[in-house]
Assembly symmetry: C2
Homo-oligomer: 231 residues x 2
DNA sequence: ATTAGGGATACGGTATACAGGATCCTAAGA
DNA sequence: TCTTAGGATCCTGTATACCGTATCCCTAAT
C-alpha cells in the first residue's frame, strides 16, 4: 500500500519514491556501520559508482550527506575517508546526545500516545526475548530501535533530524567497541518513567542512562586502546 | 606507512581554498537570510547556475547542503523552495536551541580562556556602542556574533557544528520578525555568569536568556500573524 | 466554469571531458 | 643507502550535453 492518509484532492504521488542519492547514502552508511568500510577507508567516487552501477553524481551527493552526518571527513581535492572517532569526538558525541536525549525524554513523557507506548513496549519485549535466547545481534537491534522510538515519542521533528545521525554514530561506535551489553533493566525503568507522564522523572532517567552508557563506552575504549597500543 | 601529520617540510597547501560548492552555498544562505529569497521562493538550479556563472553541479550540491541545514525544503522531482517556518518549527528550534545552548554555556564556563573572554567582552562593547548610537544593524550583528562566540568558548566542535545552523535559522527568523531589540543587559549578565567559571550559574543564565528570547519571538510572530491574517 | 489535453519546464540521473592538485613511483644524485 | 627531483597517474572539481519523466501551466472544448 503506497499512499497514506492523504488530503482530499491529492492524487497518487508515488509516495515511496526515493531519489537514488538517498538510497546510495543509506547503502554507504550501512556499510560504514557494518564495518565494511572501516575508519580510515578512502571512499573513491568512481569506484563506488562503478560498484553500485550508478554514475558519480549520486555518489558525490551521498558522500556530502554522510559528511554532514559525521560519518566521513572530506579534505578538499583529496576526497573522503571514513571518519575515525577520536576520544574527544566520542566525548562530544555523548555531551550532545545527553542534552538532547534528556529533552526528547521530557517531551516524550508529555506527548506520547497510548498506542505509541504500546509499540515501544513491544520493542522492549523483543529485547527481552533476544536477551533470553542470547541473540546478541537481535539484542543490539532492539536496543537501537528502542532509542529511535523514544525519539519519535518526542513528536519533535527537528530533534529527530538532529539526534538521529548522532545516534547512528553512537551505534556505530558501540559495534566497533564490543557487543551489546545488557541494557534491558535500564531501558525498562527509563521507559516506565516516560510512560508515567512525568517529564521530570523521564529527564532524570534519560540522564542517568546516558551517563551510564558513556561510562561503559569509555571503559570499552580504554580496553581497546590497551589491546591495540598507539596505531 | 603513509605520511600524516608530516611536519617539517609541510608546504603550504593552499589553505584558504574553498570549493565552489561552498562558496555558492554561502552565497545562497546569505541571500535567504537577507530575504533576497523570501520563504516560498523556488530555487531553480539552472537559473541560479546561470546567474552565478557556474554549472548546475555546485548549485545542486549547495541546495542539498542548505536542505540539511534546514533553510530549504526539497520535494522530490519538484525542486527546492526556501523554507517557511511554521509555528511548530519555531518552537522546535527553540526547544533544541535551549538544550544545546545550556550545554554550550556550561562548557564555556569551565573551558574558556582569559583571551577568549576578552574577545567576547569586546563584542559586548561593540553592542553597547551600537546601542548607544542607535545602529540597529550593527546591534543585530553584534548580538549574533555574541552567540557565536559563546558557542566557540565551549570548545566543543560537535556542538558548534550542530548548533550553528540552528542559530543561523534563528537569526534569519529574527530578521524576518522585526528588528534587534535590546539584549545588551541580558547578554552582559549571561557573559558574567560564564566568566565567573560556574557551570551552574552559566547554565541558569543560558536557560533564562533562551526562554526570554523565545517569548519575544512568540510575541513578534503573533503580531505578524495579526497584521497578515491567514495567507 | 470546469475539465481534459498538451506542451513547456525543470528535476533526477547518465555520460563524457578535462584541468590541476595530490600521490606514487622511479631513477638520478649525494 | 638514503634522499630527492621529476614525471606518470589517480582522482576530485567542475563543465557540458543530453534524456526520461514528473509537474505545472495554459488553452481549448464541453
Amino acid at each position: 500500500m503506497s499512499r497514506q492518509a492523504d488530503t482530499p484532492g491529492s492524487f497518487d504521488i508515488d509516495a515511496d519514491y526515493k531519489p537514488l542519492r538517498d538510497r546510495v547514502r543509506d547503502e554507504l552508511r550501512q556499510r560504514i556501520i557494518d564495518d565494511v568500510y572501516p575508519p580510515g577507508t578512502r571512499l573513491v567516487e568512481t569506484e563506488i559508482a562503478a560498484q553500485l552501477g550508478v554514475s558519480r553524481l549520486p555518489v558525490r551527493e551521498s558522500i556530502r550527506a554522510l559528511e554532514s552526518e559525521g560519518f566521513v571527513r572530506t579534505i578538499p581535492r583529496r576526497g573522503a575517508v571514513v571518519a575515525e572517532l577520536s576520544e574527544q569526538d566520542v566525548e562530544e558525541l555523548f555531551d550532545v546526545r545527553e542534552a538532547l536525549e534528556v529533552l526528547a525524554s521530557q517531551q516524550a513523557a508529555t506527548r506520547a500516545t497510548k498506542a505509541e507506548l504500546r509499540r515501544v513496549r513491544g520493542i522492549l519485549d523483543r529485547a527481552r526475548k533476544a536477551l533470553d535466547s542470547g541473540d546478541r545481534v537481535a539484542l543490539g537491534e532492539a536496543n537501537e530501535a528502542f532509542h529511535d522510538e523514544i525519539l519519535k515519542l518526542s513528536h519533535n521533528v527537528l530533534l529527530q533530524t538532529v539526534l538521529e545521525p548522532l545516534q547512528g554514530r553512537l551505534h556505530w561506535l558501540l559495534r566497533q567497541t564490543g557487543d551489546p551489553y545488557d541494557l534491558f533493566e535500564e531501558h525498562s525503568a527509563w521507559f516506565e518513567a516516560i510512560a508515567s507522564g512525568s517529564a521530570e522523572l523521564a529527564a532524570e532517567h534519560a540522564l542517568r542512562h546516558a551517563r551510564l552508557n558513556r561510562e561503559i563506552v569509555r571503559k570499552l575504549l580504554a580496553e581497546r586502546q590497551h589491546r591495540a597500543p598507539s596505531a
